[in-house]
């Protein structure tokens, strides 16, 4: 497992500047009421624009609508309002053969792989090419180069039952790339995999994005996936995109409670247990305030805390500190305690704002 590529994300390969590869304009999806349940707005007026060559992540809890959103991109779901365009084609207006032709240019991978148990690795990857009507010779050449690309050429004649989860997902990726799509949709593709395999598959996706210039839209409920390979991220809740931006910005300066709660699940972001147990909520502003200070960019390495303590003469205790790496850029995160009076002091606020420090009030302790 030493094939981790470096995730340099500055290169947005391919894709014309200007026109987005995928544009989702005011898309809503309403499921009418049934006998069992009332109507559901799975998507409410969603606007997303994905640039060519980008890896765009959508994060949300189950039921947030991210799966419906992903399926609207290849027309498996039909929006009740709005428009979805992929590479200039209005997916929401296409029917039958035109839709099928468009779908061949959009690959998809799945949480549970969805491989045919009756077909070998080779035959599974060949399936979309058979659908497209290619002859045997062309299929053979294409499939063998794909198996090389995803690193499972040695499993060519194995059936899915003989493969591990990671190997199955590699077959899934090869199959999704068979028809040389411009867009790859990933439906929780790593959620059924262990952490190590997850990293390997994400590395494969990043590699494909970089070398083939394939635009990737992935949905996940894990911020670690977003942090690992995405360029931009949209946070979904109750059918709406409630926050969107560059991954670095969203991770370092989350704007919504939902984004913050996903961040708290990132390794190293959760509060120490002894602290979490003692923490009181915002309504009791007494004693000592507990803050999380976020340091971004060049300032991440400056001695800001020491200067703050000197300037304010405040007692600042550091409970936890770390410098993280988001897409190759440093991001420092420090949990500190200081007297409530100092925490709410205007001079403190001004000093921190001046130094580009993001403040998150976690609570209060005695």
């Amino acid at each position: 497992m030493n094939n981790r590529p470096n995730f340099s994300r500055s290169v947005y390969a391919g894709g014309a500047a200007g026109a987005p590869m995928i544009s989702i304009d005011g898309v809503s999806r309403f499921y009418p009421a049934t006998k069992k349940s009332g109507g559901v707005h799975a998507l409410r007026n969603v606007d997303i624009s994905v640039r060519g060559g980008e890896i765009y992540g959508v994060i949300g809890r189950s039921g947030a609508g991210k799966s419906t959103l992903l399926r609207a991109i290849n027309g498996l779901e039909r929006p009740t309002a709005g428009r979805v365009c992929v590479d200039g084609a209005d997916i929401s207006a296409l029917r039958d053969e035109a839709l099928r032709a468009a779908r061949r240019k959009i690959g998809m991978i799945f949480q549970h792989f969805n491989l045919l148990s009756s077909r070998t690795t080779f035959a599974n990857v060949a399936l979309p090419l058979e659908f497209a009507g290619l002859d045997r010779k062309a299929i053979r050449a294409r499939v063998e180069s794909l198996l090389e690309l995803v690193g499972i050429a040695d499993k060519r004649d194995r059936y899915p039952v003989e493969l591990s989860g990671g190997q199955k997902q590699r077959v899934g990726v090869a199959r999704a790339l068979a028809t040389e799509p411009k867009v790859l949709l990933s439906d929780e593709a790593t959620s059924a995999l262990d952490p190590e395999t997850t990293r390997a598959i994400l590395a494969l996706l990043a590699d494909i994005n970089r070398t083939l210039g394939v635009t990737i839209v992935l949905i996940t409920h894990e911020m670690s996936v977003i942090k690992e390979i995405c360029h931009r991220v949209g946070v979904m809740e109750a059918g709406e995109v409630i926050e969107e931006g560059d991954v670095y910005d969203v991770i370092t300066r989350p704007q919504t409670q939902t984004a913050r709660s996903f961040l708290s699940a990132l390794s190293g972001r959760e509060l120490p247990r002894w602290l979490a147990a003692e923490l009181r909520p915002d309504s009791h502003r007494t004693g000592t305030a507990v803050l999380r200070l976020g340091f971004t960019g060049a300032r991440a390495t400056e001695p800001t805390i020491a200067r703050l303590a000197r300037k304010l003469g405040a007692d600042i205790a550091i409970l936890q500190a770390q410098v993280d790496d988001v897409g190759g850029r440093p991001f420092g995160s420090i949990i500190v305690t200081m007297p409530v009076a100092a925490a709410f002091d205007e001079a403190t606020q001004a000093f921190l704002a001046d130094h580009d420090v993001a403040i998150e009030r976690l609570g209060y302790v005695d």
Partner: protein
Amino acid sequence: MSIDVLLQLRDSLLETLYMVAAAWLIGGAIGVPLGVFLATSGKGELFAAPRLNALLNLVVNATGSTPFIILVVALIPVTRFIVGTSIGTSAAIVPLTVAGAPFIARTVEAAIREVDHGLIEASAAMGATPGQIVRKVLLPEALSGITLGLTLIAVTLIAYSAMVGAVGGGGLGDLGIRYGYQRFRVDVMALVIVVLIALVQGVQMAGASIARRVNKRLRPPSSAATHK
């Protein structure tokens, strides 16, 4: 036991094989496509046609719930129309087929409904036509279940064929009734039972073996230990 009886037994066995094989093949030719349609024509499915689906369901249920011996008698006019006579081994194929086809359709339907819906979705996402999804995904994935179903039907048809003596269909069952029961030939009865059991056992084993071979969901024993 005389040579006559053994010759009778051989003829009866051939009649049974003929009736069952013909009914099984014709029933399969009708039942397999019917089962595929039943499994894919519900509301929101590949070939959505809910009304036709409901109608066919009704027909299948009606034939399935009619006792076979009633079906044999009730179908006499139909048999006469198709075969030209309502008596004899060939005539018996008609009720056997009519009883078998819906049964086959149900087992095929059940096998296809067992296929993971994710595979249909993945195929649609790859740009497959509904026909391609049936041919390249649903049928191959359901093959093991379909094989077991067809085996079960073959066994059922062997059992049913014992009743067509009522319309002069002949076969092993008829031999057992005429010699073993009506003429008190316990030895003939025993022989008929042994042959029937051997026949059913053979069909069952062959079917199960084929079903196992086409089922790739089972890990082959040789590689179970080496591939994690």
